[in-house]
Symmetry: C2
């Protein structure tokens, strides 16, 4: 029933994704040059579908052969995708019963893929709330440790991000500001000397960024628009510069307690407002 290989390859990203996802229209156009592995594509789509709640906890995914024909790929590809899902803690597949969706407690929220999916799922708002809560626990500590342990190169990167942020405000360059903000927090995370803390802080930060990106279309929320109008952007920018600078200075001086305190203040006072203005 399945004949030509080449045409079927392209039918995966369009046809298969259509059936499950909402808007993957642009995806296959973005990556025509870099040939995406089919199993990764299936992995992405199934993972997003599971996390979106299309397959409730405890239910079984369609059989491997069904999935294969639905996506227009071979059973081999489906299996390889299922193994990635298994490693992400989303499913457990057993003979006869199929790949069962595991309860939320066993998903690997730490995994990059899961974060990506959740940040792009209906549960995005709630997730972002939890992420913010965690950032307020983790990032001040990361700043404190960075003040104590950062080497010269790491301190330089913090300083550089700070400089970029000032430059962005000067030039009124929103994109540069976003990038500098991201760099600022990531460079601190990388300087804290604890790989666990580093990875976790970086992932939290990435979750925020992802949510900002994927929620651009949600700006028609009148409440948010109102808040954005009310905000005095320039004032906010100056406030952000000050708050970030206090953190950076403390880190550069090796003042751990000061860095912790400054980062706490930054997250409490500025970051929420920034998030509102920048898109969530």
């Amino acid at each position: 029933m399945r004949k030509s290989n080449v045409t079927r390859t392209s039918s995966l990203l369009s046809g298969g994704a259509q059936t499950k996802n909402v808007a993957v229209a642009g995806v296959d156009r973005i990556t025509p040059v870099v040939r995406v592995k089919l199993s990764n594509a299936v992995f992405e789509d199934l993972g997003q579908a599971i996390i979106n709640g299309d397959y409730p906890t405890g239910s079984s995914l369609p059989g491997e052969l069904d999935l294969a024909s639905a996506y227009g790929v071979s059973r081999t590809v489906v299996r390889e995708a299922l193994y990635q899902l298994t490693a992400s803690g989303l499913v457990l597949s057993r003979p006869k019963v199929g790949a069962q969706v595991l309860p939320r407690e066993s998903w690997e929220y730490g995994s990059a893929a899961v974060i990506r999916w959740v940040a792009n799922s209906p549960a995005r708002a709630e997730f972002l709330h939890h992420v913010t809560e965690m950032r307020r626990v983790v990032e001040p500590e990361a700043a404190a440790l960075a003040a104590l342990r950062a080497d010269d190169g790491q301190r330089a990167r913090v300083a550089e991000a700070m400089a970029d942020m000032r430059l962005a405000v000067e030039r009124e360059d929103v994109d540069l500001f976003k990038a500098a903000d991201e760099n600022f927090h990531l460079s601190i995370a990388h300087a804290c000397g604890n790989p666990l803390l580093m990875e976790f802080a970086a992932k939290l930060r990435r979750a925020v960024t992802l949510s900002r990106e994927t929620s651009t279309q949600a700006i028609d929320d009148p409440k948010i628009v109102e808040q954005m109008k009310k905000a005095n952007v320039y004032e906010l920018a100056q406030l952000a510069i000050d708050a970030h600078a206090k953190v950076a200075d403390a880190i550069l001086l090796g003042n751990d307690k000061g860095a912790r305190k400054a980062m706490t203040a930054l997250l409490k006072e500025v970051d929420h407002a920034l998030t509102l203005v920048l898109g969530v």
Copy 2:
């Protein structure tokens, strides 16, 4: 070049694999219940080998066919294992170049498998140090949130773990004590109302437990034995009971600040000593 590792694994797998290939009549019936998937076994072994440093960063694993023949499995199985490794952030495989080991920064330290491997690797001591550092950041906050948000059932489980711990000391039952300790911390993590915090705290806790388990054979370290002898176990047990009770009481009373403070003290004063006595 990494022959020793492969051959060791091959022998591990040989029990399950050969029974099928050779089709010896009686052997099949000996181990029919615990049938491990071959790909999972290969996944486990390769992951452990990578994290042990057998394959340095940037190097390529042996080719799929080599791995297949080394492990005595089909190429399909090897590929499925490699896909799990990919999802864990350990390798990235490309045509012709093979599966390259990614730098540590991209390993999913949050993933259960990676934690298992690291907790069982030469880097265990250092990892445990980082884990402890993270616990001192995360668990006090989890306790505080649990005091604010735990429902009746969750509070009951905390109280139950506390009661078990008292019982264990009374009966001088070390195993029960370990279990109660584990339950105590896990129940708090589960009661904090933030899935990210819950998962992270639980994984940190699990890393500690795993390290304790896998290091039983390392107790011949004279320094540790000396410390264990010097420790007054009964005194320590009473200290542990008191410290844990303070946390539990604060949580049950909804006193978040008290819970945070008590947990901080617990981790600072008692937990290290406990870890020493219990096996690390």
